[in-house]
Symmetry: C2
Subunit: 249 residues, 2 copies
């Protein structure tokens, strides 16, 4: 039974890609079978893991190339990469009947994994609607800063809208605080606000960590680049919380 | 003669909105007449400055409401706000003839300012194409981190593509390093890379500053919230560099 999780936030730069990479690897290190899907036409996850390939999710969507020829493996995680062709695909999707279900149909051809994670772009886009229609669960990584609050309320609107109209089973697993810097006082204010006003589950935070910024220049997850760093420990902890909330014990 | 500048980067969370607000106010504090245009359907600039209004740029584009009823003033800067209706407008634009010139046509109705700054969303979108077709100049705020490099090469592709096909006069004023933290070693590596491989002008950097994160919770620019903070000093310095490069002495 495959757990399907979208990593989403309409705010830019909230660690969506970094989280998809590191959570995927942390889960794989628990001996689980994991696929990470790059659904951002900017191909950030593919760039991070040096999985920029001639064949991408676009060729899978058009049916031109079978999945086995497209998927590559990085640190024990299978990757379905993306490149800018996905932007053209997204434009073409606008006129296709059942255009919100195209990614769901693709995911129905992906079997055998324990976990499927989808990295999404921040835009209010048809691809993100597709991702949220296709998966059962959502994680929202966000920074505990004022300008992040608006992105949060936007993604919550999007998620609830899709739950109502396209995917009634969609569930928010929780908010993942990222780039946490305990010394900033706005951090505790935003945390308080989230607990009292938003009331969604909160994962343990990922702290600001210069190692997390360096890891991509080696094409590595934080877990392989700096396994004893604070953000690596944080991601392992969050992976355990994720397994618990998906009832793996 | 109005200077028109787009603040762009396809990477999310690179301080585009923070820069548009703070640079606009810094310019206004030099006794210049400034308008800041929110061209992000997420309305982040409008949210920051508490300029969320019933009438927005969408009503200006449809011609339903005159500009004088839409524009509001914050800290000496005129603001043309946006809200999510801009996402619908963008979808509708797809089918309009000359769809890349709609913002240019709007800007031709905006006269009398010394500076017009446009805050753009990170997405590869028709609105951003419109912004780049409408303005003469571009500033690219970016973090000096590995995952920012891909966003940079994408925005450079976009800018050069538009220069070729839609707006031959488009000029990149420079890259603005933001959230600079000198202690991070990846910072100096990326700076070196930018100087040797990209060769675009570099503005003086904006340092990481907790005050810059707090300012939006008061709806204030950094210049009014914490005028002696490091990022306020940085933005004033960059405003001077901008005035020089636009030949104001
Ligand atoms: N724990 C961390 N500590 C410090 N920096 C981090 C951390 N996690 C991510 N970053 C940095 O923050 C920046 C944004 O991260 P990332 O690209 O993963 O965000 P994103 O939400 O996917 O962005 P986009 O909206 O553009 O898709 C990157 O430069 C990344 O290296
Ligand atoms: N100098 C700074 N020091 C510390 N934090 C900063 C600084 N400038 C901006 N930030 C913070 O970084 C985050 C991203 O900034 P901002 O929203 O301006 O980026 P953006 O590029 O407009 O994002 P988007 O791609 O979502 O439009 C915000 O929480 C902001 O408060
Ligand atoms: Mg990303
Ligand atoms: Mg912004």
């Amino acid at each position: 039974f495959m757990q399907t999780i979208a990593i989403v936030n309409h705010k830019g730069g909230t660690g969506k890609t970094t989280t998809t990479v590191n959570l995927a690897v942390a889960l794989a290190q628990n001996n689980l079978s994991v696929i990470a899907i790059d659904l951002d036409p900017q191909g950030s996850l593919s760039y991070y893991l040096q999985a920029v390939q001639p064949y991408t999710i676009s060729e899978a969507l058009t049916g031109e190339v079978p999945l086995t020829k497209i998927v590559v493996n990085r640190e024990g995680v299978d990757i379905l990469p993306a490149n800018q062709r996905l932007a053209d695909i997204e434009l073409a999707m606008v006129n296709i009947p059942q255009r919100e279900y195209l990614i769901k149909q693709l995911f129905e051809r992906i079997i055998g994994y324990d976990f499927l994670l989808v990295d999404c772009s921040p835009s209010l886009s048809l691809l993100t609607v597709n991702a949220l229609t296709a998966v059962k669960k959502v994680i929202i990584p966000m920074q505990l800063e004022v300008l992040s609050l608006q992105g949060l309320s936007l993604i919550l609107d999007t998620v609830f809208g899709i739950k109502e109209q396209l995917n009634p089973n969609l569930q928010i697993l929780g908010i993942l605080p990222v780039m946490l810097d305990k010394r900033k006082k706005v951090t505790s204010e935003i945390l308080e606000y989230l607990k009292t006003n938003i009331g969604l589950p909160l994962f343990s935070p990922i702290h600001t960590d210069v190692k997390a910024i360096e890891a991509p220049s080696f094409g590595k997850s934080i877990l392989s680049y700096a396994p004893s760093s604070i953000s690596a420990q944080d991601y392992r902890r969050v992976a355990q919380e994720l397994l618990q909330s998906c009832e793996y014990h």
